[in-house]
């Protein structure tokens, strides 16, 4: 480790900014994934494919149709919700009706994911798609003048929107009637049905929220990296799994905590360790393995129903 770098406050601040915005992306992605698991006991491995399709939806809206940024964001979020609802209707609902176990729904989601990614490859090919400069000014801003901490407009957008999304999700789950219904279903679908809750409808709403979060994560990552390819979901798939297992499967606060931890650790390993950028891909897997073997409940604990 290069110790002289540690003493450099600007470098440290720079990495904090980069790490937090990276972590915010992981958190937004993982929130949707962990929500589906926490409420429905489904490991939705098609979440990453949804994420990728939303990046393309945003790109189509802004680059191909020339729509402005807010409409591009909306397009991605709507696409995410639509794909998630489709997944629920095609891949998950029939299995839940048949009383299949969660291994089956996981396999079904793996199949759906493979189809979504393959179709994207067939449609878009393997060449990288990029946003035109007019979508989001690529020149970074500097905090503390030139030579200070660099922050891109995409990072500002990420930080603002992720805080808004997390706050909105927290409020929705805790303070609204629908949020209460979602929590009731997470506790017991059977009891919820007996209490007159429209379980099918609430499940659809849950998928809409999860898909919208995948959509937001997809378009934000696309804006940050400006590198949109059908394989981009693979990059975040295992990181998302590492994040939710680190925080505790099905645990919403855990996903946020895990997201920021992974984002910061990755950024600091790249910055401070020699050869760090080579091993950055291994960090998520090491965390995943270590937590599964040592503390499978994660830092904040798994959702209680799963522990039995």
């Amino acid at each position: 480790m290069d110790l002289s770098l540690l003493a450099d406050p600007v470098f440290l601040a720079q990495n904090l900014v980069d790490g937090i915005s990276r972590g915010a992306l992981y958190a937004v992605y993982a929130l949707g994934f962990t929500l589906i698991f926490g409420v429905l006991d489904i490991i939705n491995l098609a979440h990453a494919a949804t994420f990728m399709w939303c990046a393309f939806a945003g790109w189509l809206a802004m680059a191909a149709l020339g729509l402005p940024l807010p409409l591009g964001l909306a397009a991605a979020v709507v696409a995410g919700a639509a794909i998630a609802v489709l997944l629920e209707l095609v891949a998950f609902r029939p299995l839940r009706r048949a009383g299949a176990d969660r291994l089956s729904s996981m396999i079904s989601s793996i199949g759906a994911s493979l189809i979504l990614v393959s179709v994207a490859e067939a449609v878009f090919g393997s060449q990288t798609r990029r946003f035109p400069d007019k979508v989001l000014d690529p020149r970074p801003l500097f905090i503390g003048g030139a030579g200070g901490v660099r922050i891109s407009r995409a990072q500002i957008l990420i930080l603002v929107s992720s805080v808004l999304l997390m706050a909105a999700l927290g409020f929705f789950i805790r303070r609204t009637r629908m949020g209460t219904a979602i929590r009731a279903i997470a506790a017991s679908q059977k009891a919820s049905r007996l209490l007159g809750i429209d379980v099918g409808g609430v499940v659809i709403v849950t998928f809409i929220i999860a898909g919208a979060l995948a959509g937001a994560a997809g378009i934000l990552v696309a804006l940050l990296t400006n590198d949109i390819v059908p394989g981009m979901g693979g990059q975040i798939e295992l990181r998302g799994l590492a994040v939710v297992i680190l925080g505790g499967m099905g645990n919403i606060e855990g996903a946020v905590l895990g997201g920021f931890i992974l984002g910061l650790v990755e950024t600091f390993v790249i910055a401070y360790l020699p050869g760090g950028s080579d091993i950055k891909d291994a960090i998520a897997f090491l965390i995943l393995f270590f937590i599964l073997l040592v503390k499978p409940d994660g830092l904040l604990g798994r959702k209680s129903a799963d522990r039995a």
Binding site: A122, A242, D281, L292
Partner: protein, 630 residues
Amino acid sequence: MSAVPLRRQALPWIVVAAVALADLLLVLRNPADADRLLINVILALSAFATLHLRLLSLANAGFMAIGAYTSAILSVKLGLPVALSIPAAVLACGAVAMVIGLPVLKLKDVYLAIATLGFGEIVRVLIILLPGLTGGPTGANLSTGFPYAAMRATSTWVIAAALLFIAYLFWSLGPSKTGRAFRAIRENPQAAATMGINITGYKSLAFLLSALIAGLGGAFFAHSVGSLDNGDFNFTRAVNILGYAVLGGSGAWFGPILGAGLLTALPILIRDSLGASIGFLHNFAQLPNILTGASLMLVIIFMPGGLASTFALGAGAGAGARAGAGAGPDAGAENRSGAGASRAAVRGSPAGRGGDRRDVPEADEIPPPDTVSEGLADCCLLALDGVSRSFGGVEALSDVSLEIREGGVYGLIGPNGAGKTTLMNLVTGLFPPTSGRILWRGREIQAKAPHRIARLGISRTYQNIQLFSEMSTLENVTAGHHIHIGTSPFSSWMRLPRERREEASAQREATAILERLGMEELAARPAGTLSYGDQRRVEIARALALHPRLLLLDEPAAGMNETETERLGLFIGELKRHGYTILVVEHHMDLVMSVCDEIVVLNFGRKIAQGAPSVVSRDEAVLEAYLGRE
């Protein structure tokens, strides 16, 4: 025979013929595809090895990579002949599997899948991080010191021979102790454990087998293709391998062969026959993945057993027939004479047992329990000492002490929720007591795993029936005999004489027990198709096949009519005469009063009375518990 069953019988063979035809077409058009087909089938069998036990492992692509790169590096960089480098690569996979297997197999269902998915990706990251050895991100090809000609060093015939060898392994394990243990774990891990089957051991064996086979497939892949890239072993590969096994079905070993055959041939044949008429699929490169994805979803939703499940009845009968053939026709004859003898034994006439026993051990009577000797005869067999168990703050059993002496029949009664089944679960090790000790012949056993407790000689039946419902009745009972069969996976694989002998004797024993219970004609039926009462009796037969020193019966008469209950009572009495020690939970008071020497009464988790039936039935506390009082 009507038309519908005929069609149903024909369907499996139509599937097989279609897959064979497709594969034949594929190979005839382009012989180079033969290697790919065979390797995919090998990989499918590696997925089968774990999926058969309902373990969803996605590590196959990782093991495939280890096998491929190890063999490539050994043969090209170190100049080892492929005949050595391939086995070395397979062994390397085995070593890695042993290291990661134990911790990973502790994880349940989806967590195992996630951990193995992570393993596969770690292997890929390592390949990229070691460019000197593996060629790094660009892969093993000419430019990274892996000359194509040197690497391409295997023939289709060698791969085909290896595949036959692996298929033979699964085929020969099927009707053996190992194959039965695999199926038992697949169907009901808890019942398997209480029959003495070491779940962790067999899961590890399956995981190891899967890794070895995937490594072999990978090594063949390297020497068939002649160049390697880490992208060959990514998540998509893992999913495709899973797709073969899921489409084909994980219930029988030939399923994955069908699945791999179909998913390899179909995309190529479709591409070739449709040509460029579907333009948007760029060169059809995505077609295999789309077909795999679609079959994963469709099969899981509409046909969870996969293509092989269309064979379900045929396969079960086939396995049974093969096992029966192993037992030999003379065994059948002797069993029949044995049945007559044991019917005589019911009437209590020992003279009836003088028949021709010859070399068939115990075929003509209930297996006697392995008796306890060495001066412990008067000591108690099982003792509970202040045992408590709570579930999330609710005390299901509190401070219960009792002693069970050898040869006694004990009744355990009490109102619903009194803790009777909890007590049985504690004794059989399904969960440990919160406090207190459980002693077996003076030794503490409360911390032992269920299969270890079963090996001490404690077997049980369940209140809610826990049979291996897709296995035949005979197989269920033979599975109960597990701990007495002294064969290894190796001897089953090699079909050693010992294997045939032990297997035949186990079949005879199981048949004899079924005959004793008058169920011999149900032997070939899948246990799940039997009537409720018959299922209860199969559970008793399975528990007896373990030769228990202590037999725990959890509501054996539940769902039985009066005649059946009466017959059950006679049977328990007969077991007692043969020296069995029995603890029975039952609500039929007539039954309990007539067969038990001593009765223990539980209420709200506490022991409220113990004594002879006549004493207990007049006990104030018992009457209060059952009838209530102001």
